[in-house]
């Protein structure tokens, strides 16, 4: 097991190098001068050039890139934000917490609703219930995120005053962002659960359980559900990963200081150390989450234990996520 984990962690390095290289490339291409952004629009050209020298912005891209990577590797220093001067790491970690909480909450909401709807529509196959579930789950996937967000604010904050409209000064501020992101993912969870349940219900061991005299409900919840959850867990894992950095639109509408908003603001302010640091940290979090998700499958599906531990050789017939 340890060898597998180390292999996955080593894989992280090329990814991080790739991410930082591409962002460096994008940085040089994007117009708008960071030095000008720091000094404000009234600074003179000489002052701007002087700051560019000081920040090493005039060095060739490769030199800047090597220096950046060296700093991270040797001192774990992700550079400091042009805007506030704080080290990028200390700015991002609390925001990672906020985004993390919202993502976990959103995925939980999406998964729970999705799985329940998926099971219902699997058990009630070909009835009007199945089509109704399909329509409901499709609905939230068909409306742009920020429309859902603004409508939720209007209903729950403006009219009902139950929840704060923006900001997370109080814990209740987390609820609406979670619900918005969660609802959008309900459709995919419903579909995965439904098809996985149908597949499992057709398996022989379900018939064996029936032959034992087991009740339909127990068969659904003890036998079928647990097996059906494997592909669902895989999709939860992957979506947990990529929605960490993805909540930009939602974080902007709700004014939530998450990682997504931090990167968007940094891009607008041409605050490149923050953009780079943010993207790298998200890449790291992404890989670690995917690793944790893969390992947790072993707890759910013992069959994977042998494939995972035996050097991760994937059988060609493995059901890819």
């Amino acid at each position: 097991m340890l060898k597998y984990i180390i292999k996955r962690i080593l894989l992280l390095i090329p990814i991080l190098l790739g991410v930082s290289a591409i962002i460096f490339l994008l940085k040089t291409v994007t117009p708008g001068d960071p030095a000008r952004q720091i000094l404000g629009n009234t600074a003179t050209e000489e002052q701007v050039q002087e700051l560019r020298e000081e920040l090493g912005l005039n060095d060739p891209v490769v030199v800047q890139y090597v220096r950046y990577i060296k700093n991270i590797v040797t001192k774990g220093d992700f550079g400091s934000s042009y805007r506030t001067g704080e080290p990028v790491l200390s700015e991002i970690l609390p925001r990672l917490g906020t985004s993390g909480i919202i993502t976990i909450g959103a995925v939980a909401i999406g998964a729970i609703i999705g799985i329940v709807l998926g099971i219902i529509s699997a058990l009630k196959k070909y009835t009007w219930v199945d089509s109704l579930v399909l329509v409901i789950s499709m609905f939230f996937q068909s409306v742009p995120e920020f429309v859902v967000a603004l409508v939720l604010i209007m209903v729950f904050a403006v009219n009902l005053h139950w929840l704060p409209a923006t900001g997370i000064t109080s814990i209740k501020g987390f609820i609406l962002p979670m619900v918005t992101i969660g609802l959008a993912s309900v459709a995919s969870y419903t579909r995965i659960t439904r098809s996985s349940m149908l597949e499992v219900l057709g398996e022989d061991y379900i018939r064996t359980a029936r032959a034992k005299g087991q009740t339909e409900n127990n068969i659904t919840y003890h036998h079928a559900l647990r097996n059906a959850m494997i592909p669902v867990a895989q999709s939860i894992g992957t979506s947990l990963g990529n929605s960490i950095g993805g909540g930009m639109v939602i974080e902007t509408v709700f004014g939530v200081p998450g990682v997504g908003k931090y990167i968007v603001d940094s891009i607008t302010q041409r605050n490149y150390p923050s953009v780079l640091g943010g993207a790298l940290i998200i890449a790291m979090v992404l890989t670690i989450i995917n690793l944790i998700v893969d390992i947790s499958f072993v707890l759910i599906d013992p069959r994977l234990k042998t494939t995972i531990i035996a050097g991760g050789a994937k059988k060609p017939k493995a059901k890819a996520a």
Binding site: D204, R210, K212, G213, Q214, I300
Partner: protein, 325 residues
């Protein structure tokens, strides 16, 4: 009557889909006594498995329908029972084992749990006692009891079939239906499984319906033998009657097609033609197209199973008065 465990009368089962209706089982009647091993023989598509599923009430929902007939277990007609009552019988009074052991066990639960489950379902006892019973059953089927904590994928095909048998016999059922238990296994393992089944059957006095298409297995295991063709019981009798003195043309054709050691034959005899299409069965005798002993009346009447000799029945016009007339 007292020692009859199960009696099936005029059982008809159809599979109704949007495009066609499959007449899987057509008016079958037979009885099983306590401790008797009945071999149910026939080619694939003859309705063997459907009969078994009909007895246990496990026909696929919305598609499988019992059109008529009765299945009486100790005087109670199973077809009239509610789902709840039927559940008390499954696994307790009647249990079933299936053909492919590789997929018959739940991959994410330990084998101990899966055996204990049927014990817990039918007896008031604690989980620990059920697990102890599970270990006894594992020992009975020849598996090291300590392995009850392992998962199905850690066992070979043969071992898995033993576990399935352990599950089926855990509550000492009165009737065990085995649907081609050894077909998916290779011959050596097949012999071990069959020996073990016969040993357990003798110890617990369980009646068994052994569904197979392998006459050798029937010869080895069964007391009586029932031959099925086109969803009908074409011949029924004791092993000696059916094997040594087959009455129905289909049974006779079956024996001719078995390669025997003492006769060296250039080509094996083959029954010409194909198994009838169950969604388009003839009104007359289903074996008519392929029968070598037929006469011109055979495509006018649908023969009824007649008692050719005590306890030996055959469904063929030869043994009915219309044959001469």
């Amino acid at each position: 009557m007292s020692d009859t465990l199960l009696s099936v009368k005029d059982l008809v089962i159809h599979y109704e889909t949007e495009d066609e209706v499959v007449e899987a089982v057509n008016k079958i009647s037979f009885d099983i006594k306590k401790g008797e091993v009945l071999g149910l023989v026939g080619e694939t598509g003859a309705g063997k498995t459907t009969t078994a599923l009909g007895i246990l009430g496990l026909l696929p929902a919305k598609v499988g329908h019992v059109i008529q007939g009765s299945i009486e277990l100790e005087g109670k007609d199973l077809l009239k029972l509610s789902e709840k009552e039927m559940r008390q019988i499954r696994g307790k009074k009647i249990s079933m084992i299936f053909q492919d052991p590789m997929t018959a066990l739940n991959p994410v639960k330990t084998v101990g749990d899966q055996i204990a489950e049927v014990v817990l379902l039918h007896n008031q006892c604690s989980k620990a006692e059920a697990l102890k019973r599970a270990q006894e059953m594992l020992a009975m089927v020849g598996i090291v009891p300590e392995r009850y904590k392992d998962y199905p994928h850690q066992f070979s095909g043969g071992m898995k079939q033993r576990i399935v048998i352990a599950i089926a016999l855990a509550c000492e059922p009165e009737l065990l239906i085995a649907d081609e238990p050894t077909t998916a296994l290779d011959v050596t393992i097949q012999a071990q499984i069959l020996d073990m089944m016969r040993k357990l059957q003798k110890e617990q006095g369980t009646s068994v319906i052994l569904i197979t298409h392998d006459l050798g297995v029937v010869a080895e295991m069964c007391d009586n033998c029932a031959v099925m063709y086109g969803g009908e019981l074409v011949e029924y009798g004791t092993l000696e009657q059916v094997f040594d003195n087959p009455k129905h043309p289909y049974t006779r054709a079956l024996y001719k097609s078995i390669p025997s050691l003492d006769k060296d034959v250039e080509r094996l005899e083959v029954i010409p033609g194909l198994v009838p299409d169950p969604s388009d069965l003839p009104e007359y005798c289903s074996f008519f197209e392929r029968c070598s002993e037929k006469c011109d009346k055979c495509n006018k009447y649908d023969p009824v199973s007649t008692e050719v000799e005590p306890g030996h029945y055959a469904k063929c016009l030869q043994y009915m008065k219309e044959w001469e007339g």
